[in-house]
Symmetry: C2
Subunit: 238 residues, 2 copies
């Protein structure tokens, strides 16, 4: 196999892409520039809104996503990752168009949950903190059931309305303390219902829990970091 | 003119590229994803060491830099920026190879110094904090003299040995407090010799001065941020 070159289909939003690039660097054992993962990032945010498209109120992002996949393939990338949970709605169509294999963010997350260090204690119940869009489509729940035999604990509608949504929008406004307190409460609710691990499948949640030094960080998994770890594995296994 | 697409020739090091991408986002007036600058970043750090090449002890990075320029041009980028001061040694050869124009980091810095808000008080003396390589090549000094009629105040050899070099290496080791104190002393020396503005042309310096809340931050210019501002101008003037 030729040398890896990770293609990042980004821009959704642009900061989530920068966050992934930063985490790839953090996760790489390196003592000099040349040890780091080679990456090409397509960080072009002029893609129709994914939430609106899914709600039937906006145009489809698929043509621009396919264009990005073709551009990354022109550069002979060896793999493609997409640092946006919602964009995975179009994963199959993108994978079909791409010569380079795509890595699914939920597969990367699953791998992070089943790391050897944790093998002795496979979780029976996994809490999932995510948008309505990600919760409804069921990728995470299906994988946890099929691969781990684990049940997924999700927020109920009242928790989405009073904790998740206002927590996320507080973070988007820069009010990380306030958002962190709400999301920390949501995490506590899922743990109270038996969740042994928490998957924070929305980019606002990890920084908010960090800000309030949430006690639930130790059992939490950040899918963006899991995706970064998948990129580093590809590079180290070359 | 077709829509801008900024190409970033990065990887030197990979974190400096991520820093530029982050500052492009910070500098953009945006209320939604689609308002942000479209960027493609070639963040491939497998480029021969620039310092060693300049010292005559390592192979030239030019062939790999030219390859990166060609790859970015394949994607029809409208402009190319290089978030690495040292790599600008090969600027002319890269500009000659590229269909898309390259923006020189020292030109972007010059623009930041001459922003309208500062026009009433054009500096007569500008302090320059940079590596030996950047100091010796003289891009900044030549531009300050030719465009502003300003003199450049640089560290003397003793200040390089006792303040700049140990300060930078402290930052590279993660000792930002210690590094910040040394670099803050260096800044004070240049100001004592008449510098009215300081150009921090080495990526270690801005975070170190930030850490120690240096009083000299207000008169300082970060060339990476100036390069980000140049990218944002291109986008807003489309």
């Amino acid at each position: 196999m030729s040398s890896p070159l990770v293609g990042v289909l980004g821009g959704m939003g642009p900061l989530a892409t920068v966050d992934l690039l930063h985490k790839i660097i953090e996760e790489t054992p390196a003592s000099r520039d040349q040890d780091h993962v080679p990456v090409v990032a397509w960080n072009v945010p002029q893609i129709p809104d994914r939430q609106q498209a899914l709600a039937g109120t906006g145009e489809s992002p698929l043509p621009m996503l396919l264009h990005a996949v073709r551009q990354l393939n022109h550069l002979s990338v060896s793999h493609i990752v997409v640092p946006c949970n919602t964009a995975h709605h179009w994963f199959d169509a993108l994978a079909e168009e791409s010569y380079a294999p795509l890595i699914h963010i939920a597969d990367a997350t699953l791998h992070a949950i089943t790391l050897p260090a944790d093998a002795k204690k496979a979780p029976q119940k996994i809490g999932l903190i995510a948008t309505h869009g990600t919760l409804n489509v069921g990728w995470y729940q299906q994988r946890f059931a099929a691969q781990l035999g684990a049940e997924t604990v999700v927020p109920d509608e009242q928790e989405m309305t009073t904790l998740f949504v206002p927590g996320c929008y507080a973070v988007k406004r820069g009010e990380l303390q306030h958002g962190g307190r709400l999301l920390d409460q949501l995490a506590a609710r899922l743990v109270a219902r038996g969740a042994e691990r928490l998957v924070l499948a929305c980019t606002e949640v990890p920084p908010a829990l960090e800000t309030v030094s949430s006690r639930w960080r130790d059992i939490s998994i950040d899918p963006t970091r899991a995706l970064a770890q998948a990129c580093v594995r590809i590079w180290l296994q070359r």
